[in-house]
């Protein structure tokens, strides 16, 4: 456990050096005191197709929220909304009580500096070494001296177990290691919330275990709030405090992992139990079998 | 800004590019022949300047001693008024003559200056009075035809007067 604790300077001290104080938008209805991120009646989509419809979600501070659901159901869309990479058609996306929609670019960047986003395959900068990748946010947003940047970077890499690989290039590390480097980069500025987009996809069992442990321990050690989008129920349920399931553009279930496991909702049961057929059909819509194969329908005679 | 191992190479690249530009300007172009000597201005009036352009050379004995500064039309005498800039280290007598000549057979036109015999020299603001206009091809041909006609007419007259 102690391996993962020394992950950086005291977060408050680092934040004071780096960020201006956040300003709230006047006239915003009060957020529940413990929700860092909130979606209120959010609908988002392209044209007529709504990916999310009237979604209400609040992410409590300091907790790990898991977002699960069918592919294309809208989980990654939630992450994009939080970073304002997408804008909602309806509703509000609030970060620390602040609506993201009216922010100008500078204010938006100030908000984004308080977030870390871990992309599905890491999205490391391929022309920079591991060290330079983690140092990137520090170099861009702070004027810390070189020696201090070096120390910070090595501390972050140490937290994810890659301090010895700092000189390697992204092409020279494995997928799991690349994701760990991306995690180190995401926490380089000691953000308030870290968003994980499919952090367990395509990892071997050891790396899976490492990734899950890192998410949980960093969350607790740094006082972060984490949102994990994942398909891997076993690992995710093991580390999450809250789980929300998104299907067909809505939240169909929300609660602790134990509550979801015990749910009687057919869709949740199919998902949690990994049943091939249920509310999500096995067969895609098609013409009747007989029509495709040119068979005549044979009536079974009662025996 | 961090020092990079590219610094030297980029510096060399910029140097090579600059050297190439310099080469083009000096060796291939006429930068060195631009003279920044002192000049003084005189005027000359011509009936016809032909194809003379501003910036054309003013030569004497084939050596460039000045440039044509500008060409204007004088609507009092209906002549072309040409402003010449001559180098101060050349001194021409006041009665020098200016002719419009052609370099080569069909080349650019320039002004040829021939020295006169006056004791006093040209100073700034003087006017060159003895000028010869450019040769216009049509006038030349017309004159030639007229001469031919005149020559043909004279023996015919001589024959007609027994």
């Amino acid at each position: 456990m102690s391996l993962f604790v020394d992950a950086g300077l005291k977060p408050a001290l680092a934040r004071a050096m780096v960020f201006p104080p956040a300003t709230s938008v006047p006239n915003a209805p009060p957020t529940p005191a413990d929700a860092l991120v909130e979606l209120r009646d959010v609908s988002v989509g392209y044209g007529d197709r709504l990916v999310l419809e009237n979604v209400n979600l609040s992410v409590p501070r300091g907790k790990v929220l898991a977002l699960i659901g069918t592919s294309g159901g809208g989980k990654t869309t939630v992450l994009r909304l939080l970073g304002r990479q997408l804008r909602p058609v309806n509703g509000q996306v609030l970060f620390d009580g602040q609506d993201l929609a009216p922010l100008n670019l500078d204010q938006l960047y100030a908000v984004r500096r308080r977030m870390g986003l871990l992309f599905q395959f890491g999205a490391l900068f391929t022309d920079l070494s591991v060290f330079e990748n983690v140092a990137f946010p520090l170099r861009e947003h702070t004027r810390l001296p070189e020696a201090m940047i070096r120390d910070l970077v090595l501390m972050k890499l140490n937290a994810v177990g890659l301090r010895g690989s700092s000189a390697l290039m992204p092409s020279e590390v494995s997928g799991g290691m690349a994701r760990r480097v991306a995690l180190a980069r995401a926490i380089a500025l000691d953000p308030d919330v870290v968003l994980y987009d499919e952090p367990f996809a395509g990892l071997d069992p050891i790396s899976l275990g490492i990734a899950a442990r890192l998410i949980r321990d960093l969350n607790d050690a740094l006082g972060l709030t984490s949102i994990v989008v994942s398909h891997d129920l076993h690992e995710t349920f093991g580390i999450a405090d809250q789980v929300a399931m998104i299907a067909n553009g809505r939240i169909v279930a929300q609660g602790t992992p134990a509550e979801l496991r015990a749910s009687t909702d057919p869709l949740v049961m199919q998902f949690v139990g990994a049943h091939p057929d249920g509310p999500v059909h096995f067969h895609q819509p098609a013409v009747p079998v007989a029509q495709d194969f040119g068979l005549a329908i044979v009536e079974k005679e009662a025996a | 800004m961090q020092a990079s191992r590219f610094d030297v190479w980029v510096g060399m690249f910029v140097l090579i590019g600059g050297a190439a530009l310099l080469f083009l300007a000096l060796k291939a172009g006429n930068l060195l022949s631009l003279n920044f000597d002192q000049t003084f201005q005189v005027t000359a009036k011509f009936d016809n300047i032909g194809g003379l352009k501003a910036g054309a050379a003013v030569k004497s004995a084939g050596v460039v001693i000045g440039r044509v500064e500008s060409i204007n039309f004088d609507d009092k005498s209906f002549q072309a008024k040409v402003l010449l800039k001559l180098q101060t280290n050349t001194a021409f007598p006041k009665d020098s003559s200016a002719k419009i000549l052609t370099a080569g057979l069909l080349g650019e036109q320039y002004i040829g200056l021939e020295a006169g015999a006056d004791e006093k020299n040209l100073v700034a603001g003087d006017v060159i009075h003895r000028t010869q206009s450019a040769i216009v091809l049509e006038n030349l041909i017309g004159q030639f035809l007229f001469n031919r006609a005149a020559d043909a007419g004279a023996p015919a007259e001589a024959e007609a007067k027994p």
């Binding site: 100030a110 992309f119 | 990079s4 690249f13």
Partner: protein, 258 residues
């Protein structure tokens, strides 16, 4: 009927493309001063775009100079003006071939590498990651590359012309036997620094802006898939080549009337 509909759609797509290109250009211009302060990035790009293109530009320039001299001599000696071949080579290179051929080669070599690099960064979500880290990709990635191209192109065009003239000299004086003195003096008598060399420099600046911007735009707006990147690189070469040739005509016409 379908043909007309398709034509209309093609025109509308081109107009949309042109509009988004114009918008990107304006945004990029706005970020140029700030990006110049990160001179290290610009310097690195001048290396990648300029230094790395030196060999192809130099060798091409040399061969173009050789050929110009040979072809020019072949025609000029019919009129007894073989000594003017230096003037011919110099004027052709400095006014026309230097900027244009360099721009075409630059589009092929540096333009495609720019497009591919940015397209792959987009496909690998690196640009999105940068945005989420509150770093503007236009300032950090595109603007330094724009400066790099803008600085490198005129220098490369000058190198091309200079090497070409030297190549012309090599063929004319030692090989053909034209008098070296007349070779240079005819050239110096006929090439004006401001009118000819200056025009060429102006042209190469304009071409540098064009080629670099087309490459950046294609990379920035390509589809983030392998096919998308390959289409974008092809389009870079085609569009920038056509743009260079079209602009060349307009600039030449403009310069003749000035």
């Amino acid at each position: 009927m379908m043909l007309v509909a398709r034509l209309g759609q093609a025109v509308r797509l081109s107009l949309t493309d042109l509009g988004s290109a114009a918008r990107l250009f304006v945004s990029l211009m706005g970020r140029l001063p700030r990006s110049l302060m990160r001179f290290g990035l610009v310097r690195d790009q001048v290396y990648y775009l300029g230094n790395r293109s030196l060999s192809i530009i130099g060798v091409s320039g040399l061969f173009v100079g050789f050929v110009l001299c040979l072809q020019g001599y072949y025609t000029l000696q019919r009129y007894g003006s073989a000594e003017a071949v230096g003037l011919l080579v110099a004027l052709s290179l400095v006014r026309e071939l230097g900027p244009v051929v360099t721009a075409l080669l630059f589009a092929g070599r540096a333009g495609t590498s720019l497009t591919a690099e940015i397209g792959l960064m987009k496909a690998g979500e690196q640009l999105a990651a940068m945005e989420m880290m509150a770093v503007d990709p236009l300032t950090r990635v595109l603007a330094p590359r724009f400066w790099g191209g803008l600085i490198a192109m005129p220098l490369l065009a000058a190198v091309f012309s200079a090497v070409g003239i030297i190549g012309g000299w090599v063929v004319a004086v030692p090989l053909i036997g034209i008098d070296a003195g007349s070779f240079w003096s005819q050239m110096q008598g006929g090439v004006d620094v401001w009118a000819d060399v200056g025009n060429g420099v102006v042209k190469s600046f304009v071409f540098g802006i064009t080629v670099t911007f087309v490459a950046l735009f294609q990379g920035y707006t390509c589809k983030p898939t392998p096919e998308g990147v390959s289409q974008a690189t092809t389009r870079t070469v085609v569009v920038s080549s056509l743009a260079v040739l079209g602009l060349d005509f307009m600039l030449t016409a403009l310069m003749f009337s000035i």
